[in-house]
Symmetry: C2
């Protein structure tokens, strides 16, 4: 999904797939094959030989284990060397540290130290609430601890930009129907300047929204940075200390990304409901859909398919979202 | 490239990659891995288990050898069974028989009988001049032999729709600066009705234009078929015998496809020239670019990169091409 989003927003992408699976795991199980870390390095060697090694940006998402992080880190470091040699801007690395959600790991916990080692090389990271806690070692319970977590990611791990992609947090005006995201670009003294955005919660578990968020953020952040004269030449695209949190390019990016996501997911949930109503009509109701093991397996697959994010028919909404949400200063 | 084009034109795509390479072979060499025919069948099994097996359309492109054709053929046949079981339209198969060009094979010639066995299952094939000759066993030298070749593909192999994607043929008004494509949808007696389109030749070897042609043709053909009431329900989307060749949905599709291709390739060649001029300025001229083996290798890679088709920044041109070319009756 990230590749399509990047391409449809005008990026030339050299994608290295870490898996080739029949379907995402929202369907319960999948068949197919996985790329090994060695194969990733082999492709990187091929890109080098073909002179295709002067990238502006690297986006990394789900990585199965620490050996994959090592491979990506190697690509980041060698890319930066290449770019220096060619007097090119340094590579910007958006690292999405996909580890788990809601207190549960998707990957082995042995990945944590590898991510912590990688963080100082990243320019922007996009952890969710759980991942931000794991990386910062700060339990995020309120505004104060949120600030501590972001502060730690900036100062201890030297990460210039962070967006925490969803927070379960009591905050004025935030109830069970909404959620908040929080972002920060550090100042020169590594202190955070935090903005938050409140958005309505959409009641459906969609697969791929993490990829969607990171691909959109990358493009929108780059766009917002390009609007500030000279900022692409500044190390890590870090804004002057005088820039307020809600005026940060990162905040502008987040506003745009959340608007696109809200529009696409609203459509997706409408389509899901229509598809599932048709399904229940076809099989003879919800009860019949769960009548036995075979029916229930088909039902689960139908639910997963109905909940696919509707991207390809809604690319214009991705590209030109309506202004919907405003960042506020924490 | 096919996946991006299909998605950007609104198709939901389940793509099975046959290779994951660092670059296309226009760069001289590439590293990476190949999917095996068994892995393809494994992914197909996974799609079945996840209930993702009721496809409308299958597009197959480059297949390394006959075992891959067997895998695809199995998917086509099982898909059609699935669709019948679910009272769904039968799967439409666009088979692009990628074998070679200008008298030279890219693949082993042992693939020929496998393609010939597959042809009767295909709805639309897109051979180039060389491939059309191989499959029809007719040397295409003039209008008469072109007619014989198309007639053979319809009647002997039962292929309903054919577009020969480029023809080297003397024809009134066609000189070295232009080329022609020829298409035909068979009548109920399997006789051809042939249209041709003349287009200006673009002087550059682009990689991926075959994929671009087939993905665009698929979408545009489907669109044109949908405009004729009831035609999607007709077996193989075959138009009534009374429809003249230039009024065929296939002819409308070809006009649109060639317009998109012409616009995108015109831009691509302009970008290529700009990039290569900048390159020669950087290295100190064309002579310096070939001064030694190392320079020459870099030069070749730079040429290949400069000649990449510019898709992602020009998707609107793909989507809304200007009307440029008109099919004419042969």
């Amino acid at each position: 999904m990230a590749t399509l989003i990047l391409q449809s927003l005008g990026c030339d992408v050299a994608a290295i797939n870490t898996v080739q699976l029949s379907n995402h795991l929202g369907y319960g199980r999948a068949r197919g094959s996985r790329t090994t870390p060695l194969e990733i390095i082999e492709i990187w060697a091929g890109l080098n030989e073909a002179g295709l090694n002067n990238f502006d940006i690297l986006l990394s998402g789900y990585l199965p284990d620490e050996s994959f992080i090592d491979s990506v880190l190697r690509i980041v470091r060698e890319s930066r060397q290449n770019n220096r040699k060619n007097s090119k801007e340094t590579l910007f690395w958006l690292l999405d540290p996909v580890m788990g959600d809601n207190g549960r790991f998707y990957v082995s916990e042995t990945i944590i130290p590898a991510y912590k080692q990688a963080l100082p090389y990243a320019d922007l990271i996009l952890p969710n609430h759980f991942e931000a806690e794991i990386l910062s070692e700060v339990k995020i319970l309120d505004v104060k601890t949120l600030e501590t977590a972001l502060s730690t990611l900036h100062s201890r791990f030297n990460v210039p930009h962070v967006i925490i992609t969803s927070l379960n947090l009591t905050y004025p005006g935030v109830d069970k129907n909404s959620l908040i995201i929080a972002g920060s670009s550090m100042k020169s003294d590594k202190s955070p300047r935090i903005f938050i955005v409140k958005v309505p919660k959409i009641d459906c578990l969609f697969s791929g929204t993490g990829d969607m968020f990171s691909a959109l953020t990358l493009v929108r952040f780059r766009e917002a940075v390009c609007e500030i004269p000279g900022l692409t030449q500044v190390s890590h695209w870090l804004s002057l200390d005088s820039v307020r949190s809600i005026d940060l390019p990162l905040a502008k990016a987040a506003e745009n990304v959340l608007a696109s996501m809200h529009e696409i997911l609203t459509i997706s949930i409408k389509c899901r409901d229509e598809e599932m109503n048709a399904y229940y009509e076809m099989v003879g109701g919800v009860e019949a859909a769960n009548a036995n093991e075979n029916a229930s397996r088909k039902h689960k697959a139908a639910l997963a398919k109905a909940a696919e994010v509707r991207i390809s028919r809604n690319l214009p909404l991705l590209k030109y979202p309506m202004k919907m949400f405003n960042a506020i200063e924490l």
